[in-house]
Amino acid sequence: MRKLNTTVALALGALATAPAGAQTTATPAPAPTAEAAAPMAPVCELHIWPAAKVSASTQGAGASFGLIGVLIDSSAHAGQNKRDQAFITAALDTGAQAKALRDIDLVALLHLPPSTVIVHDQGIDLKTDDAKRISDSTAQCYAEFVVRGLSYIKGMAYKGQMRTFLSIRKFDGAVVKTDFRDSKHDNLEVKLPKDGEDTGPATDALISAFKFDVTFFADKFSKKKA
């Protein structure tokens, strides 16, 4: 499985000089091959997986009229739900989630020992009865933080809510020592954008809600553990 290396600086594409009116393609400069000697890395590892499931549902009045009403309502909002699902997926993609988790210092929030953070770029379905490690890491001190899903719901009577489903598993060798799963929702103060509208405020709101949910989850986990 590919991992995102968060420490290697990416080289910028070199600018090709071209006359006015021309359309050129810039070739990226070669990546740096040598790195300065780094301090010794922590022995513990924290692996992070982004959300594999993102759902968005806007409900109208039809949702109150049984199965037929739900079907009509789903049909009426199909395009909007598809758009919202794609927008949340993009706004909270692997890079955005990794940045948000760095900002709130997830390792410290979870009261983990100093750890090397490895962010996987593809979501994963975490089975309830699977006690094995998801990654192939053999580190003795090892933890997994999985964003199991993101769910956006908006009804007629209330603003949009984003719920984040999270889990943390701590291993001692090959044995699961702690397995904690929970979810938390946060109300969004802004509407998700339509095509052509400014996506900035909604992007900020989603990231803020994600940080809030993760922080709440980590606090709950820490209190439960204490």
Partner: protein, 245 residues
């Protein structure tokens, strides 16, 4: 006896048949809803449907000469796919994870190199109405995670009129009750003047994928071409949107 009846029902109403019934119902809705809309619109007073009269064209005056602009364009990373089906509650990248029943949306046709190639085919001079426009399409992503908040140019130098178009995300999307489409999320950063702070605009644009006839051995190729065409159409839409901001 009850067990026998349930077993019989299970044999008759398999998941495939239930999906068929739901899809048939949805197709029926697609016929009924437009008719209902036409009937509803007929009831609206004519004055409410009146379109604004366009302003008369400006006198034909020669436009002042403006310095040509420089656009730098970056593709997105690997595209995501999203699907919301009858039995799939909002899966992301299910094709890469081998989710059963997840549709093939031909997103591999929009890898970063393919995006760069497709972007280099767009008639940017026409889109910006600037025949002297200089465009540089970069082969890889910007590699930064703060493109929206960044206030400086990513490429040093350049003229006073300098623009960046960064495709931040690309999603090929589909749902049980909606057609397949390509959605582009992008940021336009406008720097007017050598030391000017950028004027940002971030938004999204979408274009439907016209599904070709499912016959012939070259269906996959035509499907990839359709996905790539939708990507270019979405980019053109975004360019039109950003012109107003």
């Amino acid at each position: 006896m009850i067990h026998n009846s349930i077993a019989q029902l299970n044999r008759v109403f398999t998941p495939g048949k239930i999906e068929f019934i739901l899809v048939s119902f949805y197709r029926a809705l697609r016929v009924v809803v437009p008719i209902a809309t036409v009937v509803a619109n007929a009831a609206v007073p004519l004055t409410a449907q009146a379109q604004p009269v366009p302003a008369p064209p400006a006198p034909n005056q020669p436009a002042p000469a403006q310095p040509s602009c420089e656009w730098h364009i970056w593709p997105a990373a690997t595209p995501h796919t999203t699907y919301y089906g009858w039995f799939h509650g909002g899966e992301v990248d299910g094709n890469r994870r081998g989710i059963k029943g997840y549709p093939n949306m031909y997103a591999e046709a929009l890898g970063t190199p393919q995006q760069a190639s497709l972007l280099s085919q767009v008639d940017w001079q026409k889109q910006s109405s600037d025949p002297n426009l200089r465009v540089v399409v970069h082969l890889s992503t910007t590699g930064t995670d703060d493109d929206r908040t960044r206030t400086t140019r990513l490429v040093a130098g350049g003229g006073a009129c300098y623009r960046e178009l960064i495709i931040t995300s690309l999603v090929v999307e589909s749902a049980a009750m909606s057609s397949q489409s390509v959605r582009v999320m992008a940021i336009r950063k406008r720097f007017d003047g050598a030391d000017a702070v950028s004027v940002n605009f971030s938004s999204m644009a979408m274009a439907n994928v016209p599904i070709p006839e499912k016959t012939g051995p070259d269906f996959d190729d035509r499907m990839r071409a359709a996905v790539q065409g939708a990507f270019q159409a979405a980019i053109v839409k975004f360019m039109k949107i950003q012109n107003n901001h």
